[in-house]
């Protein structure tokens, strides 16, 4: 599903990721962890095609990200849900519109969009806030909007970057259950996190990053 061959990413002289070779199978649930600045976000953004690798090849679902661009990349992205560390919500659109956007972008039928949007907002506990604007939400609420948006398309792959940094332990547990359930329905899930708690109670695969180097 996701394959990286000897991928490196340099920002100037800074090596955010060094010579990483990773293979994640369809339906897997993988945690990525490591200290601040280790390269977790960079790794996830590379898998998403939001950064181009300096060296190496990345294959998503058999498609080489280095060779794809334009509308093919757009199409691929619609099959990948991404929870951004800084949320990346549209400030001028309501919670509902933000979540629906990801669905409308793929030309989804309006009724389907509405159904899925409501269903996900309920799952993250934001039904009451659906007409609020992101800047009127608390940090944790914004994070949950980002999570709902990433899942509204029933993506093949879900990449979540520190998805529980602003959430309390109870909601964190709920969100992890949500991720587990989408994973059980076949979605490959990659979660980058610092949260030792999450890693402690899991039997999932954990990638450990340090200074851009991967340790399994």
């Amino acid at each position: 599903m996701i394959q990286l061959f000897r991928v490196s990413k340099y920002f100037g002289v800074i090596a955010a990721l060094k010579d990483a070779t990773i293979r994640i199978r369809k339906g897997e649930f993988v945690f990525v962890t490591g200290p601040s600045g280790a390269g977790k976000t960079t790794l996830l953004r590379l898998m998403f095609g939001a950064e181009k690798p300096t060296e190496g090849q990345i294959l998503i679902n058999g498609i080489n990200l280095g060779r794809v661009g334009g509308s093919r990349l757009d199409f691929l992205r619609r099959q990948i849900g991404f929870v951004f560390q800084d949320f990346k919500l549209l400030h001028r659109r309501t919670v509902l519109q933000n979540v629906a956007l990801a669905s409308e972008v793929g030309g989804e039928k309006w009724t389907t969009t509405r159904k899925k949007t409501h269903q996900l907002l309920r799952a993250v506990g934001l039904t009451a806030k659906e007409h609020a604007y992101p800047l009127e939400l608390s940090g944790g609420e914004q994070q949950r909007v980002a999570i709902a948006r990433a899942m509204v398309n029933d993506p093949l792959i879900l990449l979540a970057d520190e998805p529980t940094g602003n959430l309390d332990p109870e909601i964190t547990r709920d969100i992890m259950i949500l991720f587990r359930s989408i994973n059980l329905r076949g979605t490959t899930v990659v979660v980058a996190t610092h949260n030792k708690e999450l890693l402690r109670n899991t039997d999932q695969r954990v990638l450990f990053l340090q200074n851009g180097m991967i340790h399994e």
Partner: protein, 295 residues
Amino acid sequence: MRLWLYYFKHAFESILGNRLIYFISTGTISISLLLFAAFVLISANFNNWAKSWEKSLSLSVYLENGTDAQEKDEIAKAIERVDGAEIKAFISKEKALKDLAETLGSQVGLLEGLTKNPLPASYEVIFRNRELSREELKNIKKSLEKVKGVDEVQYSEQWLERIEGFIYFSRILGLIVGGLLCLAVLFIVTNTIKLAIYARREEIEICKLVGATDWFVKIPFLLEGAIQGIFGALIALSVLFFSYSMFRVRTIQLFGLPVMDVTFLNAGQYVLVVFLGLTLGLLGSFVAIGRFFKF
């Protein structure tokens, strides 16, 4: 179809959501188009006026001494056969002398010593609904001079040259100013839209990140640009019409001679300005959005 509805809905929502930006940029578009429309108004009126001036050209057809009534009629007919020509007056020998005396004013003493009236009678001819080049005037002169009983045909070469020179010069100046204005408007509008979109570049980035195709992102911006352009044009036209109605100079005496009728833009010019607004809005958005597409 459904998709277009969606785009329109989003364009309007976005205009509402970004009221301030749209207010500002539509204002700038209006002002720019106002300048342009005012220019069109002034030059259209100038053109009218120049034409009416050209129309006010007149010929004098001098008759030989001792032309009889039948010959006079023949000449009048010959004149009226010329396309657009119309006889304004017949000036008899006596009238001509009286006119001259008036023109001479204090030098009227000049006429005291006259034993006979040396002035010829003449027809004053004007042209209606026709612009004449100098070449055509020459031909008319020649052909009329062949008519029996006609002594000479005269028109004021010098006066004509001056007017033609002035009109020509003004048209060149108008073209330069108009061209400059067009460029300026284009530049200002594009820049304004660029700034407006710059303030919203994050939106574009986020839409691209959730997998929107380029056109899915661009079309609402283009629609918003078009709407802004049309609105801007309508506001400009309203302001112009309002100030036109306020001032209502309407009729201007210029150079004593020709009377200038200040008219408002005609339907074609209306459409031109609105179309220009639309084009500017669309083009401006198109150029502007290109800058922010490197995702």
